[in-house]
Structures are given as C-alpha cells and as structure tokens.
C-alpha cells in the first residue's frame, strides 16, 4: 500500500531525513517512533505530499506521488500534528468542505459525513462551531476529516498527543477498529501505545531508520522499551 525508498530531505546543511526506505502492506498498522526532532513529522509530510523530498520516491497503492500527485493523494487520509481546522466553520460544514475537495458528490458525500461523524463520535457537536470545540473534539474532527471517503492509507501524526487519558483510550480503540481494513502509519512518543495497537514498528533516529520490524521481532527477549533505548541512545 505504501512504498517509500531512498527518502532524503535536506534543509540547507541539515539532513532531516536520511535515506529512509520501508514498505507497508495493506491492513498493516505501523508506529513511527523516535525522539523529538528525529524526522518523523518531516517524513510523514513528505509521504502525504505536503513537502517535496530532496531525493527518493513514494509510491501509494503503486502510484508515484511525484508523477501523479492528485491520484496518489486520493488514497491518503492525513491528520497533521495540528488538526487543520477552520475555526469559523461548523463541524458538519467543515466535513462537507473537505468531502467536496476530496471529490465526493451528493449522496456519497452525505453518507461519508454521517459515517465519519458516527465513527469519531462527533454527533453531540455536529452543529457547533469549530472554535468552540475542546482539544479532544478538535483531534477527533481532524481524524474524521482524514477518514472521510475511506482512503486506504491513513497517516496520523501523533494522534493521541495532548489528549486526556480517557480520550487516549478512545482514540486507541478507534484505531484498533480501523485495523485490518486500513493501512495506518502513525507517529507517537508512547511506546506502550505502539505496543498495544500496532503490529509493525519503525524507529527513526537523527533522520535515519534504525529499526524496522514486527512487534514480535522487537519483543523477543527484550521489551520494546529496551530495544528503543538501545537504538536511539543519545551518544
């Protein structure tokens, strides 16, 4: 579903992402782990087509993101670190706006909106203005926007950051619901979270991919925590 090869991003002299390559099969849920500033967000931004890579290629469902960006983007739902919301819109209106831009039409659009509201439990606030939403609802609305129209690949940048414990549990169960039907790549700082909801772990450190494997591979003998620390130990 997602194939990344030789991905490199250079900002002047700084190498933010250094020759990263991995593949995600359909239905896989992968956690992108790494310390702050490791290049997680940059990588996700490249994969979603927000930033161009300095070198390397991204294939989404076999479509080259660089050559046919619109076609590739149709298969991606993206929740950035900061949910990209318009404060002056209502929840429903916002989803309708995004749905239209995703190319959904009339009944298809209304159905997709209902489904997203339902799945992200936004029913109580559907008529509310975005500026009046709490952080948790904003995050959920961001997620609703991403899953709108059922794209095959979901890219979630720290979906649980800044949520309260109950909301974190909520978000996790939500991701578990999508497991199997969607391919998901999410970044997080919380190792236990990765262990709970993901079957694949990618560890990035100083722009380099230092660990890539299934959860079982990582868990043999040592805990994910120990593996992580040994890989990204500050030298």
């Amino acid at each position: 579903m997602l194939e990344v090869s030789g991905l490199t991003k250079r900002y002047g002299d700084i190498l933010a992402v250094d020759d990263i390559g991995f593949q995600l099969e359909k239905g896989e849920v992968a956690a992108f782990l790494g310390p702050n500033g490791a290049g997680k967000t940059t990588t996700l931004r490249i994969v979603t087509g927000y930033l161009p890579p300095t070198a390397g290629a991204v294939l989404i469902g076999g479509v080259d993101l660089r050559r046919e960006p619109t076609k590739a983007k149709r298969m991606v739902g993206y929740l950035p670190e900061i949910p990209p919301l318009y404060p002056e819109m209502r929840v429903e209106g916002y989803l309708r706006f995004v749905g239209k831009l995703k190319g959904l039409r009339k009944q298809e659009l209304e159905k997709a909106i209902e489904e997203a509201i339902d799945r992200c439990r936004l029913k109580d606030v559907r008529k509310r203005f975005v500026y009046a939403l709490s952080k948790g609802y904003r995050q959920r609305l961001g997620l609703a926007q991403a899953i709108l129209g059922n794209p095959g690949l979901l890219i979630l940048d720290e979906p649980t950051a800044g949520l309260d414990p109950a909301q974190i549990v909520d978000m996790r169960s939500f991701i578990l619901e999508l497991k199997g039907s969607h391919t998901i790549l999410l970044s997080t700082h919380i190792l236990s979270e990765a262990a709970q909801i993901c079957n694949r772990v990618l560890i990035i450190h100083k722009g380099k991919l230092v660990g890539d494997g299934t959860l079982e591979q990582f868990a043999t003998g040592r805990s994910l925590e120990e593996t992580y620390m040994s890989l990204v130990a500050y030298s």
């Binding site: 087509g49 161009p52 900061i82 990209p84 919301l85 002056e88 706006f97 831009l101």
Partner: protein, 257 residues
C-alpha cells in the same frame, strides 16, 4: 470547477463570519462616500460661479459625467490601493498561519483549484464592494440626468482594475505566512503602479509611452469616459493573468522546496 467553487465559497464566506469583510466594506463606503460628497460640493460651487459670471460657453463639457462620475471612478481606484491589500492579504497567508495549508496541499487538488478558488473569492468580494457603491451613481440619476452608459463602462473598468489588484494581492499572500507582510507588499506594488507615470515628463520619448501604458490608472480613463476599448481590456486581463501566473509559481516553489 467544483473544487474551485468550493474553495471560493469557503473564502468568500470567511469574509463575512469575521469582522474583516464588514470593516473593509464600511471603510470603502466611507471613503468613497466622502470623496463623492466632495465632488458634489465642488460641482455646485463651480456651477454657481459660472452662473454669476453669466458665461454659457464655459458650460461646454461641464456635466455630471465629466465633473463627478469620471473623478468618482478614479477615486474608487485610488481607494483600492489601501483597501484591496486588506482583503487579499488573508487569502493564503492565513492558511499557512493556521496550518490549514497542510490540509489543502495534501488533499487531491491541483494548484489551479487553490489558485482560482482564492482568486474568485477575492473577485466576488470585490464585486460586493462595488455593488454597494452603486448608491452614489443612483443618487445622480435620481437628482440629475447623467449619461448612463459611462456608468456601466466605468464600473467595468473599475472592476477590471480591481481584478488586476486582487491578482497581485493574491500573489503577495502566497509568498508569506505573515498577513501584514502580504499587505505591505501589495500596497507598495499598487502605489508604484499609481506613481509610475510621475516621471513621464522627463522620460525618453519611447520609454514615455511604455510608462503611460503601464499605469493602471491611465487605463481607467477611457472606461470612465464611456469607451470600452480593446487595448485597455487586453492590458487589464493580461495583468490579471500575470498576477495569477506569479501566484502559481509561488505555490510551486512552496511545493518543491
């Protein structure tokens, strides 16, 4: 086209859910109304003066069209210099500030959808601003008998000049995430275009005509006189196209940097 309209509607609506739309609208009406009032007063004064002199030949070429409407359209364009940056500055700079550009740039959209959507939003707002000023010429028609044709051609001219301004303002908004910077950049460009013919008397003769032609405001003259001339339309439309083209480049640079 559907995606373009979706973006255009969203941005047009954004003008009216925040104070910005109403502020710009009322400031524009206040300024043009003030200037219109000045023109009326001047007209009355000169009429009285001529009447006292009892010199009917002085009234040749002296009518509501030449004395009020033509300067009125010029005044509008002059006010655009200050007003257009205020409503074009937010078009894309705000998306960047609010980080919603991350949404727009990762949705299955072409650059042209974003560019034209934003441009149409600006144009529609400009249209609303202009429609709200129709009250002034209507007053003239009610209380006087101006030639109506030049009112329409004048508005067409003002709209085209405004469209050219919007395209420049949009380009400025694409280049920065700071709305104030976007406003200043477009303001300076408009001011330069306004002042571009100031050096005409000293210029070389060949250069002279170029400077005259480049001045957006001279392009207004024939429209205000009731003449819809092709060269003027071509100039203003190509000005828009140039502005949009620069905007397109600005998006591409953002995409590939």
């Amino acid at each position: 086209m559907r995606k373009t309209m979706t973006i255009a509607l969203k941005d047009l609506r954004a003008y009216f859910v925040s104070p910005i739309g109403y502020t710009v609208l009322s400031v524009f009406l206040l300024l043009t109304g003030w200037l219109f009032n000045g023109l009326i007063n001047r007209y009355i004064m000169i009429t009285m003066y001529y009447q006292q002199m009892g010199n009917p030949s002085a009234f040749r070429d002296f009518n509501l069209n030449t004395q009020i409407l033509t300067p009125f359209f010029h005044n509008m364009v002059f006010v655009f210099i200050f007003i257009v940056p205020l409503f074009t500055m937010r078009l894309f700079a705000e998306e960047r500030k609010m980080r919603t550009d991350e949404l727009l740039m990762t949705l299955p959209l072409e650059d042209i959808h974003i560019l034209m959507g934003k441009f149409f939003a600006g144009l529609s707002f400009l249209g609303i601003v202009l429609i709200s000023t129709v009250v002034f010429p209507i007053l003239l028609v009610i209380y006087g008998n101006p030639d109506v044709g030049p009112i329409f051609s004048g508005y067409l001219g003002v709209f085209l000049v405004g469209a050219a301004f919007v395209s420049v303002g949009l380009f400025a908004s694409f280049t920065t995430e700071n709305q104030v910077v976007a406003a200043i950049v477009s303001f300076v460009i408009f001011l330069l275009l306004y002042l571009i013919n100031i050096n005409v008397p000293e210029a070389e003769s060949s250069f002279k005509s170029v400077l005259m032609y480049l001045s957006l405001f001279d392009q207004m003259d024939s429209f205000a006189k009731g003449l819809i001339a092709l060269p003027n339309i071509v100039y203003l439309v190509s000005f828009c196209v140039l502005g949009l083209f620069l905007g397109k480049i600005a998006i591409e640079i953002r995409r590939w940097r």
